[in-house]
Amino acid sequence: MDFEFSEDQQAVLDAVREFCEEELKPKAEETDASGEFPWENLRKMAELDLFGIPVSEEYGGLGMDFLTWAAVGMEISQACTTTGAVFGAHMLAQYPLMLFGTEEQKRKYLTPLATGEKIGAFGLTEPGAGSDAGNVRTSAVLQDGYYVLNGSKIFITNAGPAEIYIVIGNLRPDRGARGMTAFIFETGYEGFTIGKNEKKMAFPSLPNRELIFQDAKTPAENVLAGEKRGFRVAMQTLDVGRIGMGIGAVGVAEAALKHALSYAKERVQFGQPISAFQAIQVKLADMATEIECARLLCLQAAWLKDTGKPFEKQAAMAKLFASEVAMRTTTQAVQVLGGYGYTKEFPVERLMREAKLFEIVEGTSEIQRLVIANHILK
């Protein structure tokens, strides 16, 4: 058993950490408050080859692994949670292409995603298909060399700025999961439009929009993994997506802990820094310990994936645990900062609002527990 990163991984992580510290972190508040998609950050990340870490070099990637991707994602998320969320959601478009794409599809779509030339998004969720992911109603019909889709998707992260979409439609809406099929859509395809952005509790700069299909046409060759295999595409994509959400949550938790630590060392009450009080120390110690557990679970899930072992259970555990740790840690961070923590002068209240996303997105905590239970009861 070896918990060391390889020298290559370490070299990448060192460079990424420096980039995050110097470029992302100082602007994190501004990025959040602007309500604008963080293009500038993403452009810089593309220049550094950060978008295709686990994608093979043949398709413009770095040819490394998901473990490196996960570790890099934690750094990015910790420095700028919004940018971290974009980074995580981007993988949801890349991964199904890596897994199921034909040579042609990989060249055309995976490559620009891996180089960061284009941003990707993944559309599964519908008003009636959330936790019940098999209930996709967006219909798809093959007509004259095109698949024609009708319906809508909601809450789609990166929708709008994204130019490549992996969309789950249904050839047999009456048969639920068995008709589900994955399609590739590009911005500007006939009948395909982007709807309103959701006003959320946090992440105003992160787009979560509707995808609207009104006789929307995608060429027949843009079917991904073949007809009626969409449920499988969705489930396998979500397995990696869960690691992605886990690392995002770890980043949020880590950021909260850092703020709590520095505040506790500076804030003086009763004649000494509050970090000298055991009541505060206990909180900080618990936060740090839980974050470490969450981080290790995420990295373990990624490592299992890289070594070709089953990782679905660990991915669900990582997502579940990390998101709940993020919620607890950010709540405690607000508590450590007391009245100041409740104000918008300090970022911990924002982190607390952000943390809640991770308990809901890409499979709620409840669904993760069901996934885990299914695995252990087999």
Partner: protein, 266 residues
């Protein structure tokens, strides 16, 4: 065109600690980095290369222990074509005179070098002597503290940043130019280049390889003796005058007059 950039590996901290016994920098437990001003020199060289119509080779050069190779890998990751590490027990203990001689010897060995770029100084020793020293040893013109640099044929034009003014000077290549931080924003290496640089062979030269005179390198070639090194006393915080603007201005004027009186009687 052949450009050599002299770089130094320095501790990655601005809080340098000094061993009171030996007066040497404590390097244990401190991570290393490329001297920040040298990153500006690297960037300046790479910008020349990017804009150069024709073949242009950028070589990073450093003298140091074997682990200084890491600094060269960073330089290669940024885009340098080659990297040379001057490493030899005999180089140890070099002051700025011996160091600049050693670098100059290596530059001679490289041969046909048109331009040598250095950071204005290293953040650990802060002497700003090595760049000029290299120029002297090579017998070529030097331009220090460049904030702008342009090449036209064999002519170099540089704007120098002085304490209270700028100065624009020209010289012919070959020459040595040292640069200030404000000259550019050093590029970040892409991860592909970071990984490639890790696999690159780094050339190593010893004293013999550069035909160095044993009396002019390392301790032997270093006339500088460090007598005493100490941390300056921390500056005390200033005083803040508070109140109505008019009162504060009067109080401030009185203070200044008081100080002036003190100065004139002293």
């Amino acid at each position: 065109m052949k450009i050599v950039v002299c770089i130094k590996q320095v501790p990655a901290t601005t809080n340098v600690r000094i061993d009171p016994e030996t007066n040497a920098l404590i390097r244990e437990g401190v991570e290393s980095q490329v001297n920040p001003f040298d990153e500006n020199a690297l960037e300046a060289a790479l910008q020349v290369k990017d804009g150069y119509d024709g073949e242009c080779q950028v070589i990073a050069l450093t003298m140091g222990p074997p682990q200084a190779e890491a600094a060269l890998r960073d330089a290669v990751a940024m885009g340098c074509d080659d990297a040379i590490l001057l490493t030899d027990g005999a180089f140890r203990g070099a002051d700025t005179l011996a160091t600049s001689y050693t670098l100059a010897q290596a530059i001679r060995r490289i041969g046909d070098v048109d331009l040598v770029l250095c950071g204005k100084q290293a953040i650990d020793g802060d002497t700003a002597q090595v760049g000029p020293g290299v120029a002297e040893h090579l017998g070529v013109p030097q331009i220090t503290f460049a904030i702008e640099l342009s090449l036209e044929g064999r002519k170099i034009t540089a704007k120098r940043m002085l304490e209270d003014s700028f100065e624009v000077v020209e010289c012919r290549m070959p020459a040595v130019v040292t640069v200030v931080k404000q000259i550019n924003d050093p590029r970040r290496a892409s991860m592909k280049n970071v990984l490639k640089a890790r696999k690159r062979e780094i050339t190593r030269w010893t004293a013999e390889d550069i035909d160095a005179d044993p009396d002019r390198i390392g301790f032997q070639g270093s006339p500088t003796v460090v007598w005493k090194v100490f941390a300056p006393e921390g500056r005390k915080g200033g005083r803040k005058l508070e109140g109505e603007v008019g009162d504060v201005v009067h109080a401030l004027a009185d203070e200044i007059l008081e100080i002036r009186k003190g100065l004139s009687t002293a």
